[in-house]
Symmetry: C2
Subunit: 209 residues, 2 copies
Amino acid sequence: MTDAACTVFVVDDDPSVRKGVQRLLRSAGFSTEGYTSAQAFLDGHDRAVIGCVILDLTMPGISGLQMQEALADSGSVLPIVFLTGHGDIPTSVRAMKHGAVDFLTKPVSDDMLLGAVRHAIERATVLEQEMREKHDIERRLATLTPREREVLTHLVRGRLNKQIAADLGTVEKTIKVHRARVMQKMQVRTLVALARLVQQAGIAVDSAG
Amino acid sequence: MTDAACTVFVVDDDPSVRKGVQRLLRSAGFSTEGYTSAQAFLDGHDRAVIGCVILDLTMPGISGLQMQEALADSGSVLPIVFLTGHGDIPTSVRAMKHGAVDFLTKPVSDDMLLGAVRHAIERATVLEQEMREKHDIERRLATLTPREREVLTHLVRGRLNKQIAADLGTVEKTIKVHRARVMQKMQVRTLVALARLVQQAGIAVDSAG
DNA sequence: TCACGCGTTGGCCCAAGGTCCAATTCCGTC
DNA sequence: GACGGAATTGGACCTTGGGCCAACGCGTGA
């Protein structure tokens, strides 16, 4: 994942700041997109793009913090670097608590800004990869029938076919069939790999010593 | 884990602040210990105690940020709530990046401080539990012979006994014996449970589809 | 009504794992 | 040199899992 394959969204109502930041980023090899307001960004940006956001705090309409929340609520994991001239400590702390990569104050040195952006892009790449894998797993999970999913949960708890059969009020042979289908649909050959998938997808399963 | 079972360490060179914070915390039901300097805290506090730290930023000798780093370097996971009268945004951001639970500025309301402390204690409880489990697993791992540990890594990658035997240049029967000993020493009965343990302990193992 | 997916069950055979027994070799320590 | 732990191997027996073929009932939608 090179920097050029990523996009830095610059959200700031001040045209001079926006242009200046974009010029700096472009000269450093990043693709950039400028937005004059949080609403314009929320409505207009391509959610499929991997990248990060450089976000002003105080803007007409939706503030930077509100946009951060809105973005998170929408399920986005786009890393955010705040860049503001009128911040205070409580605001910066709140932004960081909500997952911001950095909170920079104007004037900011080119190195500081570029460093923060590189860090954000790095995080974006990792998160994107994780999301891609998780969606892939969930896509496979969606192909399971209700019964197969039920068997799956028992399998990753380490239950034997016989035990699962007893739990579900059926016989071992039936579980064998479901089990084989689960393994096939989830595209794994070992139980360990299956457990790893389920755990990656973030499905809560009670463990059994 | 009740609040009373935890201790809040108050590190501040200003006696009036220290006393005031301690009085507030005690009235809220927390046990507290006061320290007049970061060095005194690093040298004197009981590392076995579960709790959190309320930390001043500017003190004679080691600063709050330096103490945060020193504590992290020493392997501590004690949550830190900064409380300062002379902070700035870069400092607060740096503190949050390094894992601080909160960064409060004086004057602070009782509710804000107590809320931050409760949050920190909650985090401490979770972290302590995780550390306890991890140490427990590592204690069991330490009882494995080098060969058994080698077999373990292959097992959690989903390899079959026969495959492991080929990899290690021996026969399946031998692996069976090692495998049985591994399961016994790690106190698990299923392969899934073993994989879970290894993963909890944070051991990096390449997965095999 | 018929095809289809789903859940179910049976039999059969083979592969793999789990558990007993016992034994050998090597190596460091007492 | 004896002793004990670690690693190794063998055999026997049982349990468990995996694959393959076949079949039945049931509800849904074509």
